[in-house]
């Protein structure tokens, strides 16, 4: 069966520090992968998506970047975190018929 793993679950980072969030998918090949951010418990904003290794599309210009070094691995990064980067980050993969399956999320607090 297909599963999606996301870590860490919680992260507290100082302003100006780097960030690396990782997402991996099991049980499928060449998945379409997505990073979303949810601020203040409201709607989800699409940040990046990837249809294959090395292919990244950015939806919103910002302080973050994404990479896909392996088929089932999707990484969200930042060189220097801002206070405004705080939020809840969700990774997802597109299933053929059921929309998206989401990871369990990472709660990031920038202090």
């Amino acid at each position: 069966s297909q599963t999606i793993h996301q870590w860490p679950a919680t992260l507290v980072q100082p302003v100006g520090s780097p960030l690396s969030l990782e997402c991996t998918v099991e049980g499928t090949s060449n998945p379409n992968l997505y990073w979303y951010r949810q601020a203040a418990g409201r709607g989800l904003q699409l940040l990046f998506y990837s249809v294959g290794i090395g292919q990244i599309s950015s939806e919103v210009p910002q302080n973050l970047s994404a990479s896909r070094p392996q088929d089932r691995q999707f990484i969200l990064s930042s060189k220097k975190l801002l206070l405004s980067d705080s939020g809840f980050y969700l990774c997802a993969w597109r299933t053929p018929a059921y929309g998206y399956t989401f990871g369990s999320g990472t709660r990031l607090t920038v202090v």
């Binding site: 997505y34 409201r42 929309g99 399956t101 989401f102």
Partner: protein, 118 residues
């Protein structure tokens, strides 16, 4: 660009009552999917129900059903016999079926916070 609007930021009902959450969307496309996702306090996003736009019959999953009005671009969720475990944020979402697969993005509404009271 597609947009999804949920006009009810918060709702509260008593256990066992029926509640309807509203959702409207804007698109010029004809083929698309609509979804309702539930986000409990754990913040895990859970698929509740899915509707294909080409299907006239409204989707149903146990106590959850939708009223899909394609011409009106309306997609409401009805929860019957509500339970305490239904307390969560509910998000309506839209996905078009055009373009390359990666471009078939989920666009979310702002959510409705539903509280089921004992």
């Amino acid at each position: 660009a597609q947009t999804v609007t949920q006009s009810q930021p918060e709702m509260s009902v008593q256990e066992a009552e029926t509640v309807t959450l509203s959702c409207t969307y804007d698109t010029s496309e004809n083929n698309y999917y609509l979804f309702w996702y539930k986000q409990p306090p754990s913040r895990q996003m859970i698929l509740v129900i899915r509707q294909e736009a080409y299907k006239q019959q409204n989707a149903t999953e146990n106590r959850f059903s939708v009223n899909f009005q394609k011409a009106a671009k309306s997609f409401s969720l009805k929860i019957s016999d509500s339970q305490l475990g239904d307390t969560a944020m509910y998000f309506c979402a839209f996905m078009n079926l055009l373009g390359i697969q990666g471009a078939q993005k989920l666009v979310f509404g702002q959510g409705t916070r539903l509280t089921i009271n004992p």
